[in-house]
């Protein structure tokens, strides 16, 4: 009667520490250029070595420029981060995937894409969206910087076992409803705090029918539900998706691994601390209107009126409406926009780019809009170019970037200007997240692409 999470936990619990926390073994540690310099200098200061450099990978993604023809100094402020990540990786014997590598990309995109993450494995990463790898049944562990140093030195994280939650998604999705719409709906339905202290498992027919890349989008935003990690039981589609990838086990190891993965599911009699379900058949595409990921509305919907909200929430809603410069009771569709960003670990895999290209093909970005596509990895970029997707985007007036985090968090300075309204395929719409005074609407790649063409948020169903 074990849950999927129990099975992974039990297979990694090394022992209990003196303070009562469990030491959970980290199979793969993927670090990046924003945290690595700090972590390396803390290691040096304390005279510690990296316990398993062979299980550690460093990536440059947060700080790199994503403009075409980039170099390490395209963004001068980023240069020391990139230099110190490279120097530290060399010093500690860690494999580096820098901008000169064909395997470079956003941590959570490349981890599954290169089969660094595997079903049933634990993957630590100093970024809150480490849970993305849950889409292939790997346990993503988001860490802070001090914790990175702990993982580097001990190959474990010290954790109290979280409570467990299952969210069963019933029904079938309409063809224009994507994993992004689904997770926005779930967050809007239950709130951005509902999974606090829980490991979340997604289950049910809707999840089983999702393509592997969509499952990653779904798990990616467990963070915005307040949970630290999310999982989906791996099935044959995951095994097929992983076979032959760069770091996938080979030969007899592959057979043994695939056999091992087939037991990775919650037992029929497994008990969850919270067991929730919702029917998704009537869902339409969704978008956020406010400054909390739970401020969600269907594309045919109206911007909410705080007067109809519970008293305790009214202040928050007013603040969000003020920041977003929106009027309650108005349709969200029709809101004029200034920018579109298609990218990030939420929605910049090949299938995301294909969905967006399908919408823009043969059309042109509105004259008032600046739009860009930033592939999640250099591999995705190459695959998209092989399919000619870059031509579709460039001909339509999009900028076609190099792989990286870019405008998701804007830590490298790639951000919007004050007062701009952006439809973004990222995962956070906090005030100022994409630049001071920038208003962010989170949506799927297809919805973002349609907005770029129209120059406003569009209800695609209404226009078809």
């Amino acid at each position: 009667m074990a849950t999927l999470f129990d099975k992974i936990w039990n297979a990694h619990a090394v022992g209990q520490r003196a303070d009562g926390r469990w030491l959970v073994y980290v199979d793969r540690h993927v670090i990046h250029d924003l945290h690595a310099p700090h972590a390396f200098s803390k290691l040096r200061k304390t005279g510690r070595a990296v316990r398993r450099p062979d299980l550690t990978v460093a990536v440059t993604d947060h700080m790199v420029s994503t403009s075409a023809g980039r170099t390490d100094t395209t963004i001068p402020g980023s240069a020391p981060f990139l230099a110190q990540t490279r120097a530290g990786a060399a010093e500690f014997g860690i494999h580096l995937l820098g901008t000169d590598s064909a395997m470079q990309g956003i941590v959570h995109v490349i981890s599954p894409e290169l089969a660094i993450a595997l079903p049933g494995s634990t993957v630590a990463c100093p970024d809150s969206h480490a849970c993305t790898v849950g889409g292939i049944g790997a346990l993503g562990l988001a860490t802070g910087t001090t914790e990175v140093v702990h993982v580097l030195a001990t190959q474990t994280i010290a954790w109290n076992k979280p409570r467990q939650m299952r969210i069963t998604l019933n029904g079938t999705l309409a063809p224009d409803v994507t994993a992004k719409d689904l997770i926005l709906f779930v967050i809007g339905h239950w709130g951005s705090d509902m999974a606090r202290g829980h490991a979340v498992e997604f289950a049910g027919p809707v999840v089983r029918a999702l393509p592997v890349e969509g499952r990653m989008t779904l798990c990616n935003m467990v963070t915005e539900l307040g949970g630290r990690t999310g999982l989906i039981a791996p099935d044959h589609s995951v095994t097929d998706w992983l076979r032959g990838r760069a770091c996938a086990p080979q030969g007899a190891h592959w057979d043994a691994a695939a056999a091992d993965w087939s037991s990775l599911c919650s037992d029929d009699d497994a008990v969850f601390d919270r067991d929730l379900s919702v029917d998704c058949t009537a869902l339409e595409p969704h978008i956020t209107w406010g400054t909390d990921p739970a401020h969600v509305v269907g594309l045919s919907g109206l911007i909410p009126d705080p007067r109809h909200a519970p008293a305790g929430l009214q202040d928050d809603l007013h603040r969000a409406l003020d920041y977003m410069k929106l009027q309650p009771g108005q349709p969200i569709a029709g809101t004029p926009i200034d920018r579109v960003f298609i990218g990030s670990c939420t929605n910049a895999r090949l299938s995301d780019l294909q969905a967006a290209a399908g919408v823009v093909a043969g059309q042109h970005v509105a004259a008032t809009v600046r739009a860009s596509v930033v592939p999640g990895s250099t591999t995705v970029r190459r695959e998209a170019e092989a399919l000619g997707l870059h031509r579709v985007f460039i001909d339509a007036g999009f900028e076609w970037g190099e792989a990286g985090c870019s405008m998701c968090a804007g830590v490298n300075g790639e951000e919007g200007a004050p007062g701009q309204r952006i439809v973004s395929t990222t995962n956070r719409n906090f005030a100022g997240r994409q630049g001071p005074g920038v208003m962010t609407h989170l949506a799927s790649p297809a919805t973002a692409a349609a907005a770029a063409i129209a120059g406003r948020i569009v209800n695609r169903r209404g226009t078809q």
């Binding site: 988001a142 914790e147 190959q155 592959w254 603040r319 100022g432």
Partner: protein
């Protein structure tokens, strides 16, 4: 890490819920390799001269009092460094973002979860005072006091020990080093594909 025992200091009120780490330390202040994090604390809000931490008497606040879900959002530990470098040693809120809370303890900041009524009383006390209110925070006694105000709090024993002693967490973990090496050796037999990672050149 800095130890924490007791503190007597002015408290500042951030009178709202859901303050995320993008507000505590906006991304723009993470761009330097060793920037002045203290200058970035609530960087966008501090542009407003009326913001509490800009007001005379509150510029040396060492305690922040806020609503629920403080420190939600991004796991950036830089937010804790900004608090710590500014001189904030205690946070009192209804609840905290999970990773943020752990990060606070690791940086010698005491995160106190206050019960709803006590928090409301405290918020009211700070709201209605024209001058800074000094709070006494006593970790061994697990108590916050001010004239006419007392609030007991709980602190997980592991966090309490870590804060009181300024513990080195890695050292604590490596007390289990033998078990760790044994586990790795067994895992190499059980699931060799997880104990190796072959990167193609």
């Amino acid at each position: 890490m800095q130890r924490f025992l007791r503190l007597h200091a002015p408290a500042a009120l951030l009178d709202r819920d859901n303050i995320d780490t993008d507000q505590i330390l906006p991304a723009a202040f993470m761009r330097g390799i060793s920037p002045d994090y203290a200058a970035g604390l609530f960087g966008l809000w501090r542009r407003d001269p009326a913001f509490v931490l800009n007001r005379p008497g509150w510029t040396n606040a060492a305690i922040l009092v806020s609503g629920t879900n403080f420190g939600c959002g991004s796991t950036r530990e830089h937010a804790c460094w900004a608090l710590e470098e500014f001189g904030i040693r205690v946070l009192i809120a209804g609840s905290f973002g999970e990773v943020f809370r752990d990060n606070c303890v690791r940086n010698g900041i005491l995160p106190i979860i206050a019960a709803p009524e006590a928090l409301e009383t405290l918020r009211q006390l700070l709201r209605s005072s024209a001058s800074p209110v000094q709070l006494d925070v006593d970790l061994p006694a697990q108590r916050v006091t001010a004239p006419d105000f007392t609030m007991d709090f709980t602190c997980p024993p592991a966090d309490k020990i870590a804060l009181l002693e300024g513990l080195d967490e890695i050292g604590m973990t490596l007390l289990n080093a033998t078990a760790l090496s044994q586990w790795e050796a067994q895992e190499r037999d059980r699931r060799p594909w997880r104990q190796s990672l072959e990167m193609p050149e």
